[in-house]
């Protein structure tokens, strides 16, 4: 099993969710996040005061899938989230040792 963490633009969240649903991924966790890579922050002046946002609002998704779904999921995220500009985000993969469904105790892939 593999955990896929994706940090994407807020405006792409709906598109990514739809794309994942289309390929049969039903379990997804979403976080409100802030961050930046090479993307610069944003400064706005309002009534003489400076409002600087160094950490840009982002959406972070976590999905745990069976190993044979990993590529498909990543491609779906990339296709839906990409704009081609700096700030599109990143995807990270990590291994998961075990998954357990609380309701009935299912383990492994069947818990996903």
């Amino acid at each position: 099993m593999t955990k896929i963490e994706a940090i994407i633009q807020v405006s792409k969240l709906d598109a990514v969710k739809d794309a994942l649903q289309e390929i049969g991924v039903e379990g997804i966790t979403v976080f409100e996040a802030r961050g930046h890579g090479r993307q610069k922050g944003h400064t706005e002046f309002y009534r003489g005061r400076e409002y600087t946002v160094d950490l840009i609002p982002k959406s972070k998704l976590e999905i745990v899938v069976a190993d044979d779904m990993v590529e498909k999921v990543e491609q779906a995220i990339i296709a839906a989230a990409r704009t081609g500009k700096i700030g599109d985000g990143k995807i990270f993969r990590s291994r998961i040792d075990e998954a357990i469904r609380i309701r009935n105790g299912d383990r492994g892939d069947s818990a996903l």
């Binding site: 633009q9 969240l13 996040a33 706005e44 309002y46 409002y51």
Partner: protein, 867 residues
């Protein structure tokens, strides 16, 4: 002969059989009261049987030992999966030791019968002492009931120990009960209106029913020093409603226990569906939907919650000298119509509420002072409603009371009280559809009406908040010209959710129109209300896009169109999101909302000079079409007047203003000046329409300053024909206009004379400045001057932020005039001590050159530093 094992098996079978029979009878009848009585009787007989087998073959023996039912079991309310509270009471330690094993076996047998036993062993002396770490035990004794054992021991407990305990420790009991209850209410957000309520522990649930009973019992027992008649405990006006609530809630709780097969008291959506189909607790009522059934539910819990919270307030207040002292100061706010005693509002005249003005005034009073109504006052309100219903108030008078109530810091509580008493839907039937309405949504936690009240409450609470983010929104709230419209829009924004439609916004708009008509709002206010309701989801939607993308900001800002509407919509979005559930407005969302607001506000200021082209529909199409439809007579005059005016003009002036300005412009003649003056809530509005001329804006600013007026806001626009429309909003520092009606005309004539150059303005201003002393106690605001050449294709934008002071605008505009800069558009705002002024300037028919800009900046800084 039967063995203990045989008895156990037989008892187990019998218990299981009888339990199943009770469940079947409940399934057939839905009668919760019968079910809990039967279950109590079943457990009684089981306990007795075991008592005979294990403790003593004599039901009244042994001496000095008894088994007592307490808590819910003692009350005779045994729900299918409730705990069974048993007290093993002994008169002396010897008997306790002697029967220890027997009691253990007895308890084990009950456990083996799958009863959730909650046993306690106490001596009679222990029962008379209040353990501050276990007040719940003392409370449970209030429901004690004899099952078996020494009846004299039980009589000592009931008739001597408990009255003595209560007599001595009533204050501690009440205080603890109050603390536990308030804490429990707080856990549930202090509202009964949850989408998936807990029928036992939620506010207004069975626990509150018990709390009301205990409070009343303790209070009565403290006075009488003996057990009072239970039938007389509660206020007469509440008894019937309470009994009905108990019938309903016991049925609902039994239903839930049987449904889940465990001790679970949550009325989930699925449970609501089934309960509605089976008409649980409502066999006689017309229930055609889940919404209907939930309304019945909320009606009951609301009644129980009301009585419980009233008793929580009234009883401790009657005793506590500290509380009285604290509340005593409140009596100073007693009015001619209402008196305040121990934090509760009473009527000075018992029949006062027959007068609708006093009835509405009562809730204004409540909203202003954050007080609750006494039970008698509530009763009087209910009595007054039938007469009010025959001729309900409407129109301007109703709006006057409503808006004043909405503006008060405790408006939400007043609205809740009005709603609970059915007054709110009588006055605004548009809200009937959302009364206690459950809308199934994973995010929303509250019913639709409660959500609206919480949204209003969220805005009022901004002032108290210490968080940096809330402070920004709190500042925005103080800048609103008509906050009452914002509050009214929050009340109405989801009113359409009661309609059977997917698009609640459309339905809400229809109800908003109806409400606007009912309250006789003027056309401009109705447009604003309509705008807010129609667009209440727009800002949330915009936040889901890239809020730093100028294209998105432009799209959003142009949709909103005017700074005042932007402020209102921002605050509406804040209040609305925060009212979804307590965690909905995260710092992340608040930050994004603020960022979107300031980006849009800046865009609106920097795009003020996009002009109206009457030949095209771009940008101002909807407004133009609307105006033409209103001015069948004005027709061509409107086109001439509007041509070349900034689109901003149409966004900030409603149709009636535009028509009035058109008429004023048509009366101008060669060198005419048309002046309009009116009072608008906190300030005065002067509208000047004339032909453009040099230093015009500076002159009028100076004239107002010379009259002692403080300009807080101004807009200056001109059209293609060179007609200027300048609007000044000012406060009358010396109450000249307020105290002298004749000065209104004199001011207008003075302005006209200044504009025509017939008066020595410099002299007027110096006379005024000489007579005024400067106020030294100011917050220091540093001057900032910013030029922007990109905001407009043909003018230069200058933003000046500086310390506000009398005559400021005149001095700045004069400096600009001296530098040969022409003011095309002026957008003037004041925020406390800070003046935030934006000017679109031209010089020699185009943008202001680099060189002239430097000169202008120098001149402005010198002018501002000198004064």
């Amino acid at each position: 002969m039967s063995t203990v094992a045989d008895v156990s098996t037989e008892l187990r079978d019998s218990y299981a059989r009888e339990s199943a029979a009770i469940q079947q009878r409940f399934a057939a009848t839905g009668d919760g009261r019968a079910a809990i009585s039967e279950r109590t009787a079943l457990v009684d007989s089981t306990v007795l049987q075991l008592w005979n087998e294990i403790i003593s073959c004599d039901a009244k023996g042994p001496k000095n030992f008894a088994v007592i039912a307490t808590g819910g079991y003692g009350r005779g309310w045994l729900f299918p999966y409730s705990d069974i509270d048993l007290l093993f009471l002994h008169g002396e330690s010897g008997i306790e030791t002697e029967l220890k094993d027997a009691v253990r076996r007895f308890s084990q047998e009950l456990w083996d019968l799958r009863m959730k036993l909650s046993p306690a062993t106490r001596s009679i002396a222990e029962c008379e002492r209040l353990d501050p770490n276990n007040v719940e035990f003392a409370i449970s004794l209030l429901d004690c009931r004899y099952i078996a054992g020494d009846p004299n021991l039980f009589a000592r407990l009931r008739d001597k120990c408990i009255p003595r305990l209560v007599g001595r420790d009533c204050h501690a009991l009440i205080e603890n009960l109050g603390e536990i209850t308030r804490s429990r209410h707080h856990k549930f957000g202090n509202t009964v209106f949850h989408l998936e309520p807990n029928v036992k522990d939620g506010p207004g649930g069975l626990r509150d029913y018990n709390v009301a009973g205990w409070l009343a019992l303790i209070s009565a027992m403290e006075k009488l020093r003996m057990w009072p008649d239970p039938a007389t405990l509660l206020p007469v006006s509440s008894r019937r409603a309470f009994a009905a609530a108990l019938d309903f809630q016991t049925s609902a709780r039994c239903f839930l226990h049987y449904r889940y097969g465990r001790h679970d008291n949550t009325l989930t959506w699925e449970a609501q569906d089934e309960a509605a189909v089976r008409k649980i607790g409502t066999p006689e009522a017309e229930i055609s939907s889940v919404a209907d059934w939930m309304r019945v539910y909320f009606g009951h819990v609301r009644n129980v919650h009301r009585v419980c919270t009233q008793l929580l307030e009234e009883i401790p207040a009657a005793w506590s000298s500290v509380y009285r002292q604290f509340q005593g100061w409140r009596t100073k706010i007693t009015s001619a119509d209402f008196s305040v005693v121990d934090g509760l509002i009473f009527l000075q005249q018992p029949n006062a509420l027959q007068d609708p003005e006093k009835l509405l005034g009562l809730f204004h009073f409540m909203a202003e002072h954050g007080l609750k109504l006494s039970t008698t006052t509530e009763y009087k309100v209910e009595q007054a409603l039938p007469a009010l219903a025959s001729t309900p108030p409407r129109g301007g008078e109703l709006w006057l009371y409503l808006q004043e109530t909405l503006l008060q810091p405790n408006a939400a509580d007043a609205l809740r009280a009005m709603n609970a008493l059915r007054l709110l839907t009588l006055l605004l039937p548009e809200l009937k559809g959302i009364e206690a309405l459950v809308v199934r949504d994973f995010y929303h936690r509250y019913t639709v009406d409660e959500h609206s009240f919480i949204a209003i409450e969220n805005l009022h609470r901004l002032k108290e908040s210490k968080s940096e983010w809330d402070q920004r929104f709190a500042d925005l709230l103080t800048e609103l010209e008509q906050p009452e419209l914002l509050y009214l829009s929050l009340l109405l924004h989801d009113s359409g959710k009661g309609a059977q439609t997917d698009n609640h916004v459309e339905a809400s708009l229809q109800l908003t129109d109806s409400c606007g008509e009912r309250l006789d709002l003027d056309a401009t206010d109705r447009e604003t209300l309509r705008f807010l309701v129609a667009n209440h989801l727009e800002m949330s939607a915009a936040m889901r896009r890239d809020i730093f993308d100028p294209a998105n900001v432009k799209l959003f800002a142009e949709k909103i169109g005017a700074p005042e509407r932007l402020k209102m919509l921002c605050l509406m979005t804040y209040g609305d999101i925060k009212a979804v559930n307590p965690e909905a407005m995260t710092p992340w969302k608040a930050d994004n909302l603020w960022q979107l607001y300031i980006a849009s506000a800046n865009y609106l200021n920097r795009s003020a000079d996009e002009r109206v082209r009457t030949g095209s529909d771009a940008g101002s199409g909807a407004n133009l079409a609307h105006l033409h439809s209103l001015a069948a007579v004005a027709g061509k005059k409107i086109n001439i007047f509007l041509e070349g005016l900034p689109q901003r003009y149409l966004r900030i002036h409603g149709a009636s203003d535009v028509l009035a300005h058109t008429e004023m412009a048509s009366r101008l003649g060669q060198n005419g000046v048309e002046c309009g003056l009116k009072q608008v809530r906190h300030w005065y509005e002067l509208t000047l329409i004339t032909t453009d001329r040099p230093s015009l804006f500076a002159s009028v600013s100076g004239a107002l300053a010379a009259w002692g007026m403080n300009i807080v806001k101004a807009n200056a626009f001109s059209n293609a024909a060179g007609i200027v429309v300048d609007t000044f909003y000012f406060t009358d520092r010396f109450r000249t206009l307020e105290m002298n009606i004749q000065e209104w005309d004199r001011l207008k004539k003075s302005i006209a004379a200044v504009v025509k150059g017939e008066t020595d303005l410099a002299r007027m201003i110096s006379d005024r400045m000489r007579s005024e002393k400067s106020d030294g106690t100011k917050v220091k605001i540093a001057t900032q001057i910013e030029f922007d050449d990109r905001a407009s294709t043909h003018s230069t934008l200058v933003q000046v932020i500086t310390q506000d002071r009398p005559g400021l605008l005149y001095r700045m505009c004069s400096a600009m005039s001296k530098q040969k800069c022409n003011i095309e558009i002026a957008l003037i705002e004041t925020e406390g001590q800070m003046a935030i002024d934006v000017f679109y300037l031209t010089a020699d028919g185009g943008k202001v050159s680099e060189e002239r800009r430097a000169g202008l900046e120098k001149a402005l800084r010198e002018e501002l530093a000198a004064n």
